[in-house]
C-alpha cells in the first residue's frame, strides 16, 4: 500500500483525539486495514492505573507534558525542514534511487509528526512552539549539506539517531498520560526505523555498536556518546554476550539538554 502523501488534515484529528480524549485505542487489523479502534469512554477509564501509579515516580523538576511535546516538535521541525530542503535541492538528484526513496518516506513521516504534535499540543492546553530558523550548514561546518549526498546522508543519520535517543529520554516525562506516552513510543520506533535504513544505505549496520560514529563527521560524536553503556536496570549486562552485541542490543537515551546541545548549531533563532 504505497499510498501517495497522507491526508494529514483529515487523519490528524483522529489521532489527536486518541491522545487527548483519554480514550484507549487498540489497533486490531492487519495489512492495509490496520486501524480499527475500539474506544472505551472517558467516563469509564479516566486514566490508566499504571499511569496513575507512575505519578509516584515523577520528579518535581520534570518538564510538563506540553514542554516535552514542544521539545519534540522542535526536533521534528528540524528534521522536516532538513528533508524537505534536501528533496527540493540539488542533492536530491545526487541520491541513488534507494536513497531518494528512503528520504521521501522519512520526509513524509517527519512532516506528519510536525502536524501531529502541532495539533496535539493545543488540545492539551498548550501553545505549539514556533518553528525556529535553521542553518543546516551549522555556521559553515557543512557548506555542501544540500548539494553533496555524503554530507546530506551523514546529517540525516545523525538527526535520526538523535531523534531516537531524544524520544527515549522523554518517555518517563510523559508517562502520566497513557495516550501521549503511547503516541511518543509510536513516533520513537518510526525514528528508529528511519535511522536503521539511513545507516544501512550509508554502509553502516542498522544498529549502533558502542559509541562508534563510523565515517560520520566529528560533530556527530555527541549523538553517540554513552551508547557504549552496558549497565542496564542497575546490573552490568556485559557478560550476556560479546561486548559489541551487548551495546547494540540496547539503545540509550539522551537528556533534553544533551539533545538541545546537539541541535543547537543548526538553530540560529
Amino acid at each position: 500500500m504505497d499510498q501517495k502523501f497522507p491526508i494529514i488534515e483529515t487523519s490528524t484529528p483522529d489521532a489527536v483525539e486518541r491522545v487527548v480524549s483519554r480514550r484507549e485505542a487498540i489497533r486490531q487489523g492487519t495489512g492495509a486495514t490496520s486501524a480499527i479502534l475500539a474506544g472505551i469512554t472517558a467516563a469509564s477509564v479516566p486514566i490508566g492505573a499504571a499511569a496513575f501509579a507512575r505519578r509516584a515516580y515523577a520528579q518535581a523538576a520534570a518538564p510538563t507534558i506540553v514542554e516535552v511535546l514542544n521539545f519534540a516538535l522542535t526536533l521534528e521541525y528540524l528534521e522536516d525542514e532538513f528533508y524537505r530542503t534536501g528533496l527540493g535541492g540539488t542533492v536530491a538528484a545526487a541520491l541513488s534511487a534507494p536513497e531518494l526513496t528512503a528520504i521521501q518516506q522519512v520526509s513524509k513521516h517527519e512532516t506528519a509528526h510536525v502536524q501531529f504534535l502541532t495539533a496535539t499540543i493545543p488540545a492539551l492546553g498548550g501553545t505549539p512552539a514556533p518553528k525556529p530558523t535553521f542553518d543546516f550548514t551549522a555556521g559553515g561546518a557543512f557548506p555542501d549539506v544540500f548539494s553533496n549526498r555524503v554530507t546530506f546522508l551523514a546529517l540525516a543519520q545523525t538527526f535520526e539517531d538523535t531523534g531516537v535517543r531524544a524520544y527515549k529520554g522523554q518517555a518517563g516525562n510523559v508517562a502520566s498520560n497513557d495516550g501521549v506516552l503511547t503516541a511518543a513510543l509510536q513516533i520513537h520506533s518510526v525514528e528508529a526505523r528511519h535511522a536503521s535504513q539511513i545507516r544501512r544505505l550509508r554502509g553502516q549496520k542498522g544498529w549502533i555498536t558502542g559509541s562508534e560514529i563510523g565515517d560520520l563527521p566529528p560533530q556527530s560524536q555527541p549523538t553517540y556518546a554513552g551508547e557504549e553503556n552496558t549497565i542496564q536496570g542497575g546490573t552490568d549486562a556485559a557478560s550476556l554476550g560479546a561486548i559489541a552485541a551487548v551495546t547494540e542490543a540496547f539503545d540509550e537515551p539522551l537528556t533534553m539538554e544533551q539533545v538541545l546541545a546537539i541541535a543547537g548549531p543548526f538553530i540560529v533563532g
Binding site: D2, S34, A97, H109, Q197, A245
Partner: protein, 243 residues
C-alpha cells in the same frame, strides 16, 4: 464498564475472534474472572503436527499478570524467548545462498535477541515465567527458504515493536519503561533491516502498512499480540493473561 481497561480490550478481542471463526487459535474464556486463556497453537487444521493436538488444562498455562511490572516484563520476556529461539534456529543452518551481508544481519539479530532474553530473565529473577515451548514447523516456517525465514522474521520484528509500543503504558515504574524503550528501538532497527532485505530500496523499511498517516507506528494490546498478530501461533505453551 468500570473494569480494567486491559481486560475490557482483551475481552473485546476475544469476542471478535469468536465471531470471525476463521482463526487458527483456539481461545477459551474462563468462566470466572474473565481472564483470557490463550492456547495459541491449537491448530485444528494442522494434522501433520508432530506434537499432535494438545489440550492442556488451564492450570498448565503460563500466567502473565499485566497489572504488575513483573507481569509486563514477563510478557516481553515471552516475546524475546520466541524471537531468540527463532533466530537461533536460523543461525544453526542458514538458508542456502545466503549472502555475507544477510548472514551478518541475522547473526547480529540473533545475538541481540538472546541478550534481550537473558537480560530479562536475570532482571526478573525468580519472578520469571518458565521457558516457553515454541514450534516453528507448526507455523509452516521453512528454515531452508530465504523468503520463509525473512517473512517470519518480519512478523517477529514488526509484532515485537507493536507489542512494546502497546505495553509501555502498562508499566508503572519509569525505570522499567526506559528499559523497554531501550529494547524497542533496537527491534525497530531490526524490523527496518529485515523489511529492506525482503523489498530492497523501497519504502517498506517504514511502510505505510505499519506507520499510519500521522507518522505513528502500530501499537498492539498484549491479548492481540498473543492471539492474532502472527506471533502467538509459534508459542505452544498456553498463556493466560490476567489483568
Amino acid at each position: 464498564m468500570h473494569g480494567d481497561v486491559t481486560r475490557s480490550i482483551t475481552l473485546s478481542n476475544i469476542r471478535q475472534l469468536w465471531e470471525t471463526g476463521t482463526r487458527r487459535e483456539f481461545l477459551r474464556v474462563a468462566a470466572a474472572g474473565g481472564a483470557a486463556i490463550l492456547l495459541p497453537t491449537m491448530f485444528a487444521a494442522c494434522g501433520d503436527d508432530d506434537a499432535g493436538p494438545a489440550d492442556p488444562p488451564p492450570s498448565d498455562a503460563v500466567i502473565l499478570d499485566l497489572s504488575s511490572d513483573p507481569g509486563v516484563l514477563n510478557y516481553a520476556y515471552a516475546l524475546e524467548q520466541l524471537e531468540a529461539a527463532f533466530y537461533a534456529q536460523v543461525a544453526q543452518a542458514f538458508y542456502p545462498g545466503i549472502t555475507a551481508a544477510e548472514q551478518q544481519i541475522l547473526t547480529d539479530i540473533r545475538d541481540h535477541e538472546v541478550i534481550h532474553r537473558d537480560f530479562l530473565a536475570g532482571a526478573l529473577g525468580s519472578a520469571r515465567i518458565p521457558d516457553l515451548e515454541v514450534d516453528f514447523a507448526g507455523g509452516n516456517v521453512d528454515f531452508g527458504s530465504r523468503f520463509s525465514v525473512l517473512s517470519t522474521a518480519k512478523i517477529f520484528e514488526d509484532g515485537g515493536v507493536a507489542a512494546y509500543n502497546g505495553a509501555g503504558r502498562l508499566l508503572q515504574d519509569v525505570n522499567n519503561l526506559l528499559l523497554a524503550g531501550k529494547i524497542v528501538s533496537v527491534e525497530a532497527r531490526h524490523a527496518a533491516a529485515i523489511r529492506d532485505l525482503l523489498r530492497p530500496g523501497t519504502r517498506d523499511f517504514a511502510g505505510d502498512d505499519v506507520v499510519d498517516p500521522s507518522g505513528l507506528e502500530q501499537a498492539f494490546e498484549p491479548g492481540f499480540v498473543l492471539q492474532d498478530s502472527g506471533l502467538g501461533q509459534f508459542i505452544t505453551t498456553p498463556i493466560e493473561i490476567v489483568s
